[in-house]
């Protein structure tokens, strides 16, 4: 066969080939195999005179390269098509729903506690807790609330017996911590935990609730530092542009005692239903530790002073997330709980 004719045929054959890997392989064998026309031409070259050999050799080799290239091209084309076909067969409707696994959640009160704990840990505090069945001594007397003190009426108490009760505040932990410190060490603690009051449950009262108390005792802590600390907390919980203000109040374990308001995060101080038009929302009670408490807990008030504060985790959760009924925090309706991831 003439070289030129062969070249034309090869080109035609590869071009007209149906996309099929098997026929392609056959075609390759047909042209490029050991018994194929190209190989044959190469074999026949030994009969040619020497001076013609390079010329023809060059041509045949070029044809061989062309055929190989055509084949490779075609092969890739076929393989690509096959891959495409397979991919399109495997394609899924990605908008069908994924596997449903029950979405878990952390209770909002623990979310609040962890947030507050982390904030105070960052400020050098340790986290402490104590027993919920507490002695009258730790819950009241060490906090400057002797028997018959009018402040006892402020927090009606569940009693277990004459001397034991369900703690009405986690401040009881503070007395434990101070006494354990032996009156010498600085104290910097945050005490989250459950407390109890003999209150009928309604939208704003709960007989069980979650208190977070803080206490700092050292030689030079001031009310200005209390304000600084609580400002940091208010901003962490309610937004960076919050301000706080102090108002006079009374707690037997602190003197001076204050109520702390945070500027309303809903209306930014203009006055709205959340802040009852005042621009401020009451969030917690605080004060400088009463010297009687320091004394009873083994600290010399001439050398040491302290500040303390107590905030309800429920109050924070309700304000922060717009929860209206405190009882819903204990009902655990999963439609509410699951919103806290």
């Amino acid at each position: 066969m003439e070289l030129e004719e062969l070249r034309k045929k090869i080109c035609d054959d590869f071009q007209n080939l149906k996309l099929n890997l098997q026929t392609l392989t056959e075609l390759r064998a047909q042209y490029l195999g050991k018994k194929g026309p190209i190989q044959e031409m190469l074999l026949e070259m030994k009969n040619l005179p020497n001076e013609e050999k390079p010329k023809l050799g060059e041509k045949v080799n070029a044809l061989k390269a062309l055929a190989t290239e055509l084949f490779d091209e075609k092969k890739k084309e076929i393989e690509d098509k096959l891959t495409q076909e397979a991919l399109s067969k495997e394609a899924v409707d990605v908008t069908l729903p994924g596997k449903e696994i029950n979405t878990g959640s952390i209770h909002v009160l623990n979310k609040v506690i962890e947030e507050v704990e982390d904030l105070f840990i960052g400020m050098g505090y340790e986290v402490k807790d104590g027993p919920e069945v507490e002695s009258d001594l730790y819950n009241f007397q060490y906090l400057n609330i002797p028997k018959d003190h009018p402040a006892r009426a402020m927090q009606d108490t569940f009693y277990v017996d004459v001397d034991r009760l369900l703690r009405t505040q986690t401040s009881a932990v503070q007395a434990h911590t101070m006494l354990e410190s032996g009156g010498e060490k600085d104290v910097r603690i945050i005490c989250p935990g459950r407390a109890y009051r003999r209150d009928d449950d309604d939208a704003t009262h709960s007989h069980e609730f979650t208190q977070i108390e803080g206490l700092v005792v050292n030689k030079d802590v001031t009310m200005a530092e209390l304000k600084g600390t609580l400002t940091v907390m208010a901003r962490k919980l309610f937004g960076d542009d919050r301000e706080i203000r102090f108002r006079p109040s009374y707690f037997p374990f602190t003197e001076p005692s204050i109520e702390v308001d945070v500027s309303c995060f809903k209306c930014h101080g203009k006055g709205c239903n959340l802040c009852k038009g005042t621009g401020w929302i009451e969030i917690l009670g605080a004060g400088m530790v009463n010297n009687n408490v320091l004394k009873m807990c083994g600290y010399d008030p001439k050398k040491y002073q302290g500040f303390a504060f107590g905030v309800g985790a429920e109050r924070i959760a309700m304000l922060k997330y717009g929860i209206e009924d405190i009882r819903s925090l204990y009902a655990n309706d999963l439609r509410q709980n699951k919103q806290f991831k």
């Binding site: 959640s105 840990i121 919920e132 069945v133 600085d186 009310m223 600084g228 003197e255 204990y330 655990n332």
Partner: protein
């Protein structure tokens, strides 16, 4: 405490906008509960009923013709008490009342141009009117004028909430002192006495008990008992006190203004002309004003005429010496009694009043005389009485002031602000505290009205509040120590975060019933019982959280949330200890892809896997989950297991017993509960990594047949024992319990993994090992499936 601003202004100047004053008050004195006009209605006028006739089309309506000076109009009125000539409060058309805007209306064919008002229609409590129908003003009320102004009710009222330390604010004068301090304004107290008659009071006063510390009195003769003038009635209403008659009203008014309770006796009933204060005899009786005969004890204090009781001191007057409509002469008492005695009597008899409450909290002794004189003057001015001179009294009160010192250095050190001496002086002067200054140390005389001030800390509070809390800067304290969670606290948090991936955390009440508290352990030992519970379902602290979790499942299922996967980190309470426990309940479908036909219901092994994964994640060593030695209470005996650390049982998992499901009326659920503290003790952080073999492993699958009462764990432990060190892992991949195996047999398929740390294993040696394992198993009655 309710403070009518007009009454307060009699005692102290308030020169700033009243709203600013109220804000100041809340920031410097006490919490403001409310503030606003006593009556929030504008445009009311005084009218006179000129004529009245029956409505032609009604048997209870009247048509009144009312003169309001500017006009004379007809008003249809449904009140039963319409009377010609009476002065009334008229709300004309357009007036906005609490119940709505008054409109011109045609009532059954008759046009009505307004409303004749009862007090409750303008927003005043009905109790202040005392009768049905429209409210009548005194005959001297000027027609066309503002009735609120006439009644003294065009006033703002400040309601404050008092903390137990600020009993000094239980009087208008007490509030005036704080007002003066915060505004730097002037107070006005007129200490002059009423002009007295030449006639001297001929009554002797003595006490036989130290519980009466002071007793001052006045005799006022020829008193005319009648209704009080409008301003006095108005003042009392604003303080939520119902006007009765001028005598009662005067004593009540003076009480509210000064904080000093007064008692008025019918002078003519004190025949002995003698007052003896003594403790009652055990069993002695006195009929009090409310017509109750009271049996007294030796702890009650009596005011007597020397023989019989006239008045239960500080608590309630006696009926016999009561001031009545025809009483002419009055014996007026202003006394100081031991707060404890009054408190006991008032508590025992359940009699609490504005007076007894003030006696209990303690009274400023400097007000006693002022109160008596103020009342005497009012009796003279309002009731036409003659104040007799003299009046026996006695006094066992130490009037000297307490001295408290504080230095500028201490003030600055506590508050963290640099005050000037002048700022401090201003506060003390404002509060009318006398002081002397030596260097930078203030020696302050604390007036009797402020018994709450005992230490320098109390003085610092006065300084910071009056000077202003807003003057304190917010200073971030320097952090001197590094804070952290304890390992245990971090452990508990980690558990919460792991479980919260697909379980929902709950928080439930710890107080419950006895049956629920002990349902899952049946142990009454150490049960914490509340002495004074509020309700039957909250008496005991729980031993297990599970009953509460079951309630949560029911709550949610009732609201159509059927799948519940809950956990709670709670406590198990006994009298000697509180143990942290982790509890959980799972019921329903834990995962599904329904459109693929895949759905996974919770079962025992899901819960077991959950616990095992948790334990592995926490690095808990040496745990096992085993068939319980004794049946677990509340759990299915065949589908429950103990959780052990070593040999110690720390908790359980299992399916609820059908009896429990019936008892709680709840769905079939799987539960777990175990001690967190014991789990923590068994958890160990990774210290060094285990070496990984570089050589390939060889695996062999064996289907082994054994007695069905033998446990899978037994099989695996037998295999491991026989397989020695080269057997690195055993996995269960099938369970078969068909009849073809024979009676009471089961087949468990295991995949055995063999691997050596130091070399590639030969097939032949693995075959040998398998043979050895099988022959060991055969001795134990476990055979290879043929």
């Amino acid at each position: 405490m309710l403070i009518p601003i007009s009454v307060l202004k009699k005692y102290v100047d308030i020169d700033i906008d009243i709203k600013d004053f109220v804000k100041n008050f809340s920031l410097k004195s006490a919490e403001v509960d409310s503030f606003g006009p006593f009556v929030d209605v504008k445009g009311l006028v005084i009218g006179k009923i000129l004529a009245t006739k029956d409505h032609p089309d009604s048997n209870h309506l009247h048509i009144t013709t009312v003169d309001t000076k500017d006009e004379i109009q007809d008003i249809v009125c449904g009140a039963p008490n319409v009377m010609v000539g009476k002065k009334v409060i008229v709300a004309k058309v357009g007036t906005e009342l609490p119940g709505g805007i008054i409109k011109k209306a045609v009532i059954r064919g008759v046009e009505s141009c307004g409303m004749n008002c009862a007090l409750d229609e303008i927003g005043i409590d009905h109790k202040f009117q005392g009768y049905e129908g429209i409210y009548y003003l005194d005959d001297d009320a000027p027609v066309g004028a503002d009735p609120l102004k006439y009644l003294g009710l065009d006033d703002d009222v400040l309601e404050i909430e008092l903390t137990p330390n600020r009993n000094d604010l239980l009087s208008i004068i007490g509030v005036a002192y704080d007002t003066k301090a915060m505004l730097g304004s002037k107070m006005h107290i007129d200490f002059t006495k009423a002009t007295e008659e030449k006639e001297k009071a001929d009554i002797k006063v003595q006490t036989e008990t130290p519980n009466c510390m002071r007793y001052l009195s006045k005799v006022i003769k020829d008193v005319e008992i009648k209704e009080s003038p409008a301003w006095l009635k108005g003042a009392l209403m604003k303080m939520d006190i119902r006007p009765i008659n001028n005598v009662v009203d005067i004593t009540n008014y003076v009480l509210m203004v000064t904080g000093q309770p007064l008692h008025a006796f019918n002078y003519d009933k004190i025949k002995s002309k003698k007052i003896v204060v003594r403790m009652a005899k055990e069993g002695e009786t006195l009929t009090t004003l409310d017509h109750q005969e009271r049996t007294l004890t030796k702890n009650d204090m009596l005011i007597t005429d020397g023989k019989k009781g006239l008045c239960l001191a500080g608590v309630m007057g006696g009926l016999d010496s009561e001031v009545e409509q025809d009483t002419k002469n009055i014996f007026l008492e202003a006394a100081l009694f031991n707060p404890k005695t009054i408190k006991e009597t008032s508590k025992r008899l359940g009699l609490s009043s504005e007076s007894s409450m003030r006696f209990e909290k303690g009274i400023d002794p400097k007000m006693t005389e002022y109160a008596l004189n103020l009342a005497a003057k009012m009796f003279k001015d309002i009731a036409g009485g003659k104040v007799l001179s003299g009046g026996y009294s006695f006094d066992n009160i130490d009037m000297s002031d307490k001295i408290v010192s504080v230095s500028l250095k201490t003030i600055n050190k506590v508050l963290g602000r640099t005050y000037t001496l002048d700022e401090i002086k201003d506060v003390f002067t404002g509060l009318s505290f006398e002081y002397s200054l030596k260097g930078t140390t203030f020696k302050v005389s604390i007036p009797k009205r402020r018994p709450d001030i005992e230490t320098y800390q109390d003085l610092i509070e006065e300084i910071v509040r009056i000077n202003g809390y807003d003057k304190i800067d917010a200073v971030i304290p320097p952090s001197t120590s590094s804070g952290h969670l304890s390992n245990y606290q971090a452990f508990v948090r980690k558990i919460r975060h792991i479980l919260s991936y697909n379980l929902n955390e709950t928080i439930t009440y710890s107080l419950t019933t006895q049956e629920k508290a002990t349902y899952f352990d049946n142990k009454e030992y150490g049960l914490v019982k509340i002495m004074n519970p509020l309700s039957d379902d909250r008496i005991y602290l729980r031993h297990s959280t599970l009953p509460s979790l079951i309630e949560v499942v029911k709550y949610n299922q009732n609201r159509k949330t059927l799948d519940n996967f809950l956990f709670e980190i709670g406590r198990r309470y006994t009298l000697d200890s509180e143990e942290a426990i982790l509890s959980g309940i799972l019921t329903g479908t834990i995962s599904n892809t329904l459109w693929k036909g895949e759905k996974e219901e919770v079962d025992f092994f899901y819960v077991k896997g959950l616990i095992e994964n948790l334990f592995n994640k926490l690095g808990v060593k040496n745990y096992s989950i085993q068939k319980p030695i004794d049946a677990l209470r509340g759990l299915h005996p065949g589908v429950s297991a103990s959780i052990l650390i070593g040999r110690e049982e720390i908790g359980f998992i299992g399916r609820l017993h059908p009896d429990a499901i019936k008892y709680f009326d709840c769905p079939m659920s799987f539960v777990f509960e175990f001690s967190l503290e014991k789990l923590f003790a068994a958890s160990h952080p990774l210290k060094t990594v285990k070496e990984i073999s570089k050589y390939p492993f060889i695996s062999r699958d064996l289907a082994l047949v054994m007695d069905s009462d033998k446990s899978c764990e037994y099989l695996i432990s037998c295999v491991k024992k026989a397989g020695k060190r080269t057997l690195t892992d055993v996995k269960v991949f099938d369970l078969f319990t068909g009849q073809s195996l024979g009676e009471n047999k089961k087949q468990i398929a295991l995949k055995l993994i063999f691997q050596d740390m130091n070399r590639t294993l030969e097939t032949a040696e693995v075959d040998d090992l398998v043979e050895q394992i099988l022959s060991q198993l055969e001795k134990l009655g476990i055979t290879l499936r043929s």
